[in-house]
């Protein structure tokens, strides 16, 4: 029953399918943005709420630093740098793909079938579903913290180092995006388990906000080798800040972000296709 929509059958190759998917994604996102902006006051309030909810995490960090000078050997600007880079990455992934955790609900109530009938890739439809512009709140808040930390950090900013920051954000977004996608694919089997992926997305973000020296080695190994979130910001950030990496990985590992991101996206794509093909509608 499952197919990736007509994109598979109509032909035109992968490029054309990709272009069609992006176009569908753009159209659906545009629709949700227009509908969101129809209630401006509501939108402003929700965006502010999104901003404030994430800001509370940083308030907690500032309250901690009102009592101490260093956490796990890291100063406040250094922790803020970790906080900002992780927050921007998660925020962007959350904005672009964050509504995918509603997939389980769609499977349960049968509305996924509607998406299968439409002439657009299912992934694009699910990803753009209920696109939440309010999530700009988290991105804005993280960017502010990141910007502040950049002015306070004691780093010799060469061009290469400056380029590393946006590159981290892009790779981090891809890594978190892959987690969102894999989590949604998992919901084809376990519809009620939407909360599990929060452990890896929001939980991962909560972890990456703090220096790796704070956590037990096994936990750091887990997010390096098992669910490689460490490549979102820890490894490149440790390099930028001139800190040793607690696992003692070779130096080139700090630059593996793009490779890890690409591999994770490929893995998530496979999981998604597998899940979609395994989907059996309950029928009418």
């Amino acid at each position: 029953m499952a197919s990736d929509g007509p994109a598979d059958g109509v032909g035109g190759g992968r490029g054309a399918a990709m272009a069609q998917g992006l176009r569908a994604y753009g159209l659906i996102v545009g629709m949700w943005v227009r509908s969101t902006l129809a209630y401006r006051a509501s939108f402003v309030m929700m965006a502010f709420g999104n901003f404030a909810a994430t800001a509370l995490d940083f308030v907690a960090i500032m309250l901690m630093f009102s009592q101490i000078d260093a956490l796990g050997g890291f100063s406040l600007p250094e922790v803020a740098f970790l906080y900002g880079t992780s927050g921007v990455s998660l925020g962007l992934a959350d904005l672009l793909l964050g509504s995918m955790d509603r997939l389980g609900r769609r499977v349960r109530d049968g509305t996924l079938d509607t998406l299968l009938l439409r002439p657009a890739p299912v992934f694009a439809q699910v990803a753009a579903d209920r696109f939440a512009l309010r999530r700009l709140g988290r991105i804005t808040q993280s960017l502010l913290v990141l910007g502040w930390s950049l002015t306070r950090l004691d780093v010799d900013w060469t061009v290469g180092r400056m380029l590393m920051v946006p590159l981290m954000a892009v790779c981090g977004t891809a890594i978190f995006g892959a987690v969102f996608t894999a989590g949604a694919a998992f919901q084809f089997w376990a519809q009620d388990a939407a909360e599990v992926q929060n452990s890896f997305t929001y939980g991962g973000n909560a972890m990456l906000q703090y220096p790796p020296t704070v956590f037990a080695k096994d936990l750091v190994r887990g997010v390096t080798f098992l669910v490689p979130l460490a490549f979102v910001n820890w490894l490149p950030a440790l390099r930028l800040l001139g800190r040793p990496d607690p696992l003692g990985l070779p130096g080139w590992a700090d630059f593996l972000g793009p490779v890890v991101a690409a591999l994770m996206c490929a893995g998530a794509a496979v999981a998604w296709r597998f899940g979609l093909r395994a989907y059996r509608s309950t029928g009418s």
Binding site: S42, G49, A52, A190, S199
Partner: protein, 269 residues
């Protein structure tokens, strides 16, 4: 039927209803446990740098972390708790049907919330706490009486939490879209309950003020009871503090409810 009988029936029904979401419960336990680990390590670093911060030793601080995760669902520390259902009924107008029932609205929802909290305390609270106790050195009481006081304190905390959420839901009688208010009250609860950081760690007067607000009764007081930071007179004053806020907020809820039901106009015929 007397109010006691049907409230127990409503609570039991709500308990059974939440018991059916098994996979969601397992998923929630998993997430609570993961967050527990993350926060626990940050607190270890914090208490390593400042032993006895806020009057807690490290074991007490770690116990606070796992208590917060154990109560997260039961005490609705980060929104949830099923009260948005009431909000939706008010918005859609289904509330008119509820008002026709020969049962008090507030008592009905309170009973349902207590049933839900009981299930979520068992289903989502015990497992994370057990994992936390296995991995970290926690300051759990060996005296069964302290556990009893803790349970009483948790119950009072759920009542305070319910009373606040009920007020927010009733606001939908006046606001077209109550989601903004629900968001703000959720954030206030998260921050001022101690979920983000124990209120004892908050500096100076700000910390003292935070300890007087109703949200302190939802997490900070029960956690203090469990880790032994409150005993004797401070235990009694803590429970009294919770009960006073609970009664005051429920009374306010009644007042608002009376005003709201006078305002309802049911269309159609």
């Amino acid at each position: 039927m007397s109010a006691t009988v049907w409230s127990v029936a409503v609570a039991a029904g709500s308990f059974r209803r939440y018991a059916t979401y098994r996979i969601a419960t397992v998923a929630g336990v998993f997430t609570n446990t993961v967050f527990g680990f993350i926060v626990a390590y940050t607190y270890i670093a914090l208490w390593d740098a400042r032993p006895h911060l806020g009057g807690y030793d490290q074991a007490q601080a770690l116990t606070f972390v796992w208590t917060a995760q154990a109560l997260l669902a039961a005490s609705a520390l980060m929104a949830g708790g099923g009260i948005d259902e009431l909000q939706e009924r008010i918005r859609s107008g289904d509330i008119a049907v509820d008002l026709y029932r020969p049962a008090d609205l507030q008592l009905w929802w309170l009973a349902a919330d207590l049933g839900r909290a009981a299930l979520q305390l068992i289903g989502r609270g015990v497992a994370p706490m057990a994992v936390g106790a296995l991995v970290f050195p926690l300051a759990l009481p060996s005296d069964p009486l302290t556990w009893g006081w803790f349970l009483l304190s948790v119950t009072l905390g759920v009542v305070v939490s319910f009373a606040l959420r009920y007020l927010v839901a009733l606001a939908s009688f006046w606001l077209l879209d109550g989601s903004g208010l629900a968001l703000i009250s959720g954030l206030a609860c998260m921050f001022f309950s101690g979920m983000v950081l124990p209120l004892r760690v908050f500096p100076g007067d700000f910390g003292a003020l935070a300890q007087l607000l109703p949200w302190a009764g939802i997490l900070q007081v029960p956690a203090d009871v469990l880790v032994g930071a409150r005993s004797g007179a401070t235990l009694a004053s803590g429970l009294l503090f919770q009960a006073a806020w609970g009664v005051a907020l429920l009374a306010l809820g009644r007042l608002v409810q009376t005003a709201a039901t006078r305002k309802v106009v049911v269309h159609g015929g």
